[in-house]
């Protein structure tokens, strides 16, 4: 075991909304290790790392680097001290090339004024070669796949002399194959003497190739372990304090009539690219149809056209036989469509309004909640108190503003509102992204309940486990097309799905056509 190079002691961080993200956390790493930082969403992992990288200032505690006390007030200080971070959401300029992105901020110059692009390319190539990264440095970032973007981020940090590299949930956006590749590269980095902090909540990855693990729960550190000494079950128990079984029990689906028909739907985006390319499928009531795919392959456009946020052509989308192209969102909702949006803070809630106000945004004008000219405040309170209870939204009172809630509880607000109308069709877009295990389990169970109550559910998720666990049948999207249809989700493996998601394999048109019911 190497010597300790960095330690964070008694770190406490309170966010302006009153959430205690870190509560006297201790964390230390030794040179040349891959150190996993695991915990549920909202356990405080990202916050701790943001403090280390100078993006947040802690209220209490200190950071020691090589035994020397260090005050990291900004990312610049962190970089100067050899700390680099690859964020969950990439911070790259899409219109620039890989090489340009790598040197951004420390560009080689000709004279004082001009960029030396040739030198930038050589620098980037040398760097990629040194670490065995297979990458075309002349390609534009907007054209390269997610996995490669991540490599660019890592190279960017390395060019700035990062000895300690923080990776914030690096595998969240990767396919199984890309994940595999990332691991190989990280091991090369480790052999070259770099130290890696790896934030994750995918236990098998952690178990596979990390040396030590720090487990966080509820803003506190639950201790440091050698990976070989603990099993996945142990880690899981420490993370959540109980044995989580994330398999939702459900009976076989009994689909009946077709609720949603999508026929030859094509959508051309503002850049002239076909985001959706001649898509046809059906969703019947009593079934959950999953949509798998790497993000950005048309899922968002699909969801937005069905829910009315984007307009589509005539007779492309029908709900119970009714053409929706002429309907507004209000009319669609009146038809019985509910929508859990991908971006909950932008579309799902108004964060400065109360839980109560957020819970009635789709029912505020209904007769039941109104009394002549005025809203029936008592009825509204009763309804929302019930929803808060039924959906276990953790809050002091429904009059609290939504932004004071944790991510999981905010999502429960969205789910409660969308489910309360007993929809005919629910479009759920990443319904459990970025929320804790407890809330995830709860929402998934509710989704299955909704299906059993004869709703049709279209489930879009980048989380493979989720689509495979919940969906009765599954379609895979790649570059705006449906490339595969599996009538029974239980019969496919994650690896197989990965091949379709990456466009390596494609089913025949007949096989795909199986998802079209009349």
């Amino acid at each position: 075991m190497g010597k300790e190079i960095l330690s964070m002691q008694n770190i406490t961080k309170v966010y302006p909304n009153g959430i205690v993200a870190n509560n006297r956390v201790n964390f230390s790493i030794t040179k040349g290790e891959i150190h996993a930082l695991v915990g549920e969403n909202g356990a405080g992992k990202s916050t701790l790392m943001k403090i280390l990288f100078g993006l947040e200032n802690p209220e209490e505690g200190e950071i020691l680097l090589d035994g020397r006390k260090l005050s990291i007030t900004s990312p610049n200080v962190a970089i100067l001290n050899g700390i680099g971070m690859v964020h969950q959401h990439f911070m790259l300029v899409p219109s620039l090339t890989v090489a340009e992105n790598i040197v951004l901020g420390s560009e080689p110059r000709k004279g004082k004024l001009f960029l030396d692009m040739d030198k930038a390319i050589i620098m980037a190539e040398d760097l990629a070669e040194k670490y065995n990264f297979d990458i075309d440095v002349r390609a534009h970032v907007k054209d390269i796949p997610v996995g490669t973007k991540q490599k660019v981020e890592i190279l960017k940090a390395l060019l700035r002399g990062a000895e300690i590299l923080i990776l914030d949930e690096p595998t969240a956006v990767l396919t199984p194959q890309e994940t595999e590749e990332l691991f190989k590269e990280l091991i090369i980095l480790k052999e070259k003497g770099h130290t890696i902090i790896f934030i994750s909540h995918k236990l098998h990855e952690v178990k596979h190739f990390c040396d030590r693990i720090t487990i966080m729960r509820n803003g506190r550190s639950m201790g440091v372990y050698n990976t070989k000494d603990v099993s996945e079950e142990d880690i899981s128990r420490l993370m959540v304090g109980r044995d989580v079984i994330l398999t939702v029990t459900k009976n076989k689906a009994q689909p009946k009539e077709v609720v949603l028909k999508v026929r030859n739907l094509t959508f051309v985006n503002e850049f002239g690219k076909k985001a959706l390319d001649d898509i046809s499928f059906s969703v019947r009531n009593g079934e959950i149809l999953g949509v798998a795919g790497v993000e950005g392959n048309g899922q968002r456009e699909l969801v937005e056209t069905i829910t009315g946020l984007l307009k589509c052509g005539k007779n492309k989308i029908l709900i119970e036989g009714k053409d929706i192209s002429v309907l507004g969102i209000k009319e669609l909702r009146d038809l019985g469509i509910s929508h859990i949006p991908e971006d909950r803070m932008t579309y799902g809630v108004a964060e400065n309004l109360t839980i109560e106000q957020n819970l009635i945004s789709n029912t505020y004008d209904k007769k039941e909640l109104n009394n002549g000219f005025l809203m029936d405040m008592k009825k509204i309170i009763d309804t929302t108190v019930d929803l808060v209870k039924d959906y276990r939204i953790k809050c002091n009172s429904p009059k609290q503003t939504v932004k004071m809630l944790s991510g999981g509880n905010i999502q429960k607000v969205v789910v409660a509102r969308e489910f309360a109308t007993e929809p005919k069709l629910l479009v759920a877009d990443q319904p459990t992204r970025g929320i804790d295990v407890g809330a995830t389990e709860f929402i998934r169970t509710k989704l299955v309940e909704l299906r059993d109550d004869d709703s049709a559910v279209l489930l879009v998720s980048a989380d493979l486990n989720e689509v495979m666990e919940l969906s009765d049948s599954l379609i895979v999207m790649f570059e705006g097309k449906i490339v595969a249809y599996f009538e029974d989700t239980d019969k496919i493996t994650e690896e197989e799905l990965g091949l379709y998601m990456l466009g390596v394999r494609k089913q025949t048109n007949e096989e795909i056509g199986g998802v079209v019911y009349e």
């Binding site: 309170v14 302006p16 909304n17 009153g18 959430i19 205690v20 509560n23 209220e59 829910t307 946020l309 507004g328 969102i329 209000k330 669609l332 909702r333 009146d334 929508h339 949006p341 932008t346 579309y347 799902g348 809630v349 108004a350 964060e351 400065n352 309004l353 106000q357 009635i360 945004s361 789709n362 505020y364 004008d365 109104n370 000219f373 005025l374 809203m375 405040m377 009059k399 609290q400 503003t401």
Partner: protein, 357 residues
């Protein structure tokens, strides 16, 4: 949350305190008779019934424009057309008051209604431009105020001018149109009731009706509103029409209550002041009368001060400026707030720890 409200009140009070303090220091240095000046500014309006009456008289139009701006701001529409709407509403009401013979009670009501409708047109134009073509309502309403001013003056000076009067004023109003003066020795008029009724209606509309709910949701997060099925274009338009109506009705009320002819040759400024009132009241209709009274009190105090001492009433501009900057600046006292949250969070942690184990 009550904690938030308490913090807001504290912040507003502190902002007012600091602004007053700075103004007093300036007076102390600038004036030869600082103590008379300060006492005139702070307690002058309480001196006589007439002076206190002046405060109430000024409060009335400020309530109208404060409500108008609050409703528009609540929808996140920064329409500054309340000024033009107030002015042009007054013009419309004057014409009714001069030229249309109606019985008492009915006459002022019709005039105020017409004033309100005209006001709605003035703020409605930028609203339509915004909804249809995405033109910034801030810019277009600002410019439109001057169109309203000069168009109004043209109408009065060319078609309704009293040529026998010594000044540029309109024909006198018919007597049936005037609003009743309520308290002798002052000009406090029936408009105070109309303002009070408007306040109550605005409060209920905004906080207790479904249309008001639409305004609030749209103003907080327009994407969320659209996603929820709210027709945001309609809401944006509606909020501004209502704002304009209230401002226009305010102009009409002011004119019928305080004047016997139309005599303004410039924008009266109540629309701009409505912005200050709305900010002080945090766009809450129920707080608007308090904020309007406060501003009117300051104005009358400053007026008395400048009449009796060597300090000009421009001092009021300093007070207003500092006040608004401190209230609008979100980071003012944010450290204190953060500490408050931090301490509270710590307390809660202690409690849950005890409960937990």
């Amino acid at each position: 949350m009550s904690k938030n409200l308490r913090f807001d009140i504290l912040r507003t009070a502190l902002a007012i305190g600091i602004a007053l303090f700075i103004a007093l220091v300036i007076i102390l240095f600038a004036s030869k008779e600082p103590f008379t000046a300060i006492s005139q500014l702070l307690i002058g309006p309480l001196g006589t019934v007439r002076h206190f009456g002046n405060v109430i008289e000024m409060t009335i139009p400020l309530v109208f424009t404060g409500l108008a701006v609050s409703i528009m701001f609540k929808a996140s529409q920064f329409n500054l057309g309340a000024e033009g709407a107030f002015f042009f509403g007054a013009i419309g009401a004057s014409i009714i008051a001069m030229k249309v013979a109606l019985p008492i009670v009915v006459h002022p009501l019709v005039a105020i209604l017409v004033g309100g409708l005209i006001g709605a047109v003035i703020t409605g134009i930028p609203a339509v431009l915004k909804v249809k073509w995405g033109a910034s309502e801030l810019v277009s309403s600002l410019m439109l105020n001057y169109v309203a001013l000069f168009l109004g003056l043209y109408l009065i000076n060319y078609f309704f001018r009293d040529v026998n009067a010594g000044a540029m004023v309109s024909l006198p109003f018919l007597e049936t149109a005037n609003l009743l003066v309520l308290i002798p020795k002052t000009r406090i008029h029936f408009g105070i009731f109309i303002a009070a009724i408007m306040t109550v209606i605005a409060y209920y509309y905004l906080y207790k009706s479904k249309r008001g709910y639409e305004i609030i949701v749209t103003g907080e997060n327009i994407k969320f509103a659209e996603y929820s099925g709210i027709k945001t274009g309609k809401v944006i338009l509606m909020a501004q029409l209502i704002g304009g109506f209230i401002a226009g009705a305010g102009g009409a009320t002011e004119l019928l209550g305080m004047y016997t002819r139309f005599s303004w040759q410039a924008l009266p400024g109540y629309g701009w002041d409505g912005v200050i009132v709305a900010i002080l009241a945090r766009n809450n209709p129920i707080l608007v009368p308090i904020a309007a009274f406060f501003l009117a009190y300051l104005r009358i105090g400053a007026d008395l001060m400048s009449r009796t001492t060597d300090v000009q009433n421009d001092v009021i501009a300093i007070i207003q400026g500092i006040m608004i900057v401190l209230i609008v600046a979100t980071s003012f006292l944010s450290k204190y707030r953060h500490k408050m949250i931090f301490n509270e969070a710590k307390e809660n942690l202690g409690e849950t720890a005890k409960e937990g184990k």
